[in-house]
């Protein structure tokens, strides 16, 4: 039996196609799906107002390989005003034709099935190609993720549908309703991609992080991950702590004075934000909550040296040598420290800890500086992470464990 593939098109277009006598309806579905899919995953329509998305013709022809069939399908959609084309094309300027769903047909996406073997084979082959590169270091994790990561689709859909209906009840403006539906379509496609096994797993060579369908999933949807009894293991105040690890490897700083010891003590015990909050109040008489302090700290660590001067001076009054060191690190290029810290994080979390979890045959998912594991493995995982910290940095930070589902 041939495999069917799910594609997603606006329900108003689906209603039209049901009545249409067009011969190759699946070609129409492929084109409409691709216009939505590229708009959503290329992340260009951030006003949620249904704008044109440039799509080179070979993207469509890669799946509908017969030139005449492709042209017939595209002409049908344009002639019947189901989709719009901006008519702007320039090879010299690198501008492909822009497409969008016609506003009259813009509506919630619904699932339709495509079963023509020439189309499904091509779609499956494209999904496999994009995940074909494997690095030995995370081969086991990648294989586990691609074979197991799944979502409780119906429950997830119920949740986003309820949210959409509640929001629509309180909105009268057509423009705002458009945006709500478009936002819904974004969540719908994220859930549908996972449900269809259209998973991505990419290593980023600039910062060493691994990006997956999980890492950019909205936190409120994590409860619908199909693997049950998951807990999330986090490094408490991970960013200040990773800076601590860099500072520790700098002999001139760690032998200096009590300043470094204080920073090390606060970050290792997981009380950095709380203690800084107290010092900030002492220095300025102003109180900030934990979230504001966290954001402030990111500004101090990662912004250009000539911005957030006042905030940096407060940090300087508590940690003068460390502030001087941070500024020196960012002197030439302000992003160097941030990239260095992302690399330390990814090297430790992926290359060191995950390899150790693999050796112990423990399954896991990662979200950059956190791991999702089975509740029954949580103590073993905590011990392994702590042991990795000891072996690598001779230091153990505080770890926090939270229930996911």
């Amino acid at each position: 039996m041939s495999k069917t593939i799910n594609r997603y098109i606006p329900e108003k277009i689906y209603e039209h196609l049901k009545k249409s006598s067009f011969k190759n309806k699946e070609h129409l579905i492929i084109i409409c799906d691709m216009i939505n899919r590229i708009s959503i995953f290329r992340k260009e329509d951030k006003d949620y107002s249904n704008i044109f998305t440039d799509i080179p013709g070979n993207y469509f022809k890669d799946i509908i390989s017969n030139e005449i069939s492709y042209k017939n399908a595209m002409d049908y959609l344009l002639d019947n005003k189901l989709i719009d084309c901006d008519g702007l094309y320039s090879k010299a300027l690198g501008k492909a034709f822009g497409y969008k769903i016609n506003d009259e047909y813009f509506s919630k996406l619904i699932k339709v099935q495509v079963c023509k073997p020439t189309l499904t084979k091509k779609i499956i082959s494209n999904i496999n190609t994009k995940n074909s590169y494997v690095n030995e270091k995370y081969k086991k994790y990648k294989s586990f993720f691609l074979s197991n990561f799944d979502i409780d689709y119906e429950e997830g859909l119920n949740y986003i549908n309820t949210n959409l209906n509640t929001s629509l009840c309180t909105t009268n403006s057509i423009k705002d309703r458009f945006k709500l539906i478009n936002k819904y379509n974004h969540s719908f496609m994220a859930l549908s991609a996972i449900n269809d096994g259209d998973l991505f797993f990419r290593y980023n060579k600039t910062n060493g992080r691994i990006d997956t369908n999980l890492t950019n999933l909205k936190s409120e949807l994590k409860v619908f991950i199909k693997t049950k009894n998951l807990v999330q293991v986090d490094i408490v105040n991970s960013q200040p702590y990773f800076l601590n690890l860099i500072l520790s490897s700098n002999p001139s700083l760690c032998t200096t004075n009590s300043e470094f010891e204080k920073y090390n003590n606060w970050t290792t015990k997981g009380i950095f934000y709380e203690n800084f909050q107290r010092e900030y109040y002492k220095n300025t008489g102003k109180s900030m909550n934990r979230k504001e302090i966290k954001n402030l700290m990111f500004c101090i660590y990662y912004s250009r040296n000539n911005s957030y001067i006042k905030e940096k001076n407060i940090f300087r009054s508590i940690f003068p040598e460390i502030m001087k060191w941070i500024e020196k690190e960012k002197e030439n290029r302000h992003n160097e420290l941030a990239i260095k810290m992302q690399k330390i994080e990814s090297n430790f979390c992926i290359n060191i800890v995950c390899q150790e979890l693999d050796k112990h045959n423990i399954n896991y998912y990662t979200i950059h500086d956190a791991w999702l594991v089975d509740r029954f493995d949580e103590l073993r995982v905590k011990n392994i992470i702590e042991q990795c910290f000891i072996n690598t940095y001779n230091n153990i930070p505080k770890l926090k464990i939270e229930k996911i589902n």
């Binding site: 992340k43 910062n207 909205k218 936190s219 990239i339």
Partner: protein, 63 residues
Amino acid sequence: MKKKFKKEDDLYPIWYEGKLYTEEECDDIFICFYHTKLALNYLNGVYVGDKIWIYPDGTMEEF
């Protein structure tokens, strides 16, 4: 010289809240963490750490 068509891996410009940001217009911290479109959440934010995401205009929020 022929230019390549705009592809999924072009990082800039990037949309946020109805405004298109060039690299020069993006917040300097956002730039430090934005290296691939695959890392973006559906609002076009990128993960910093400690559960915080940053957006092209510099807004920092949990997601």
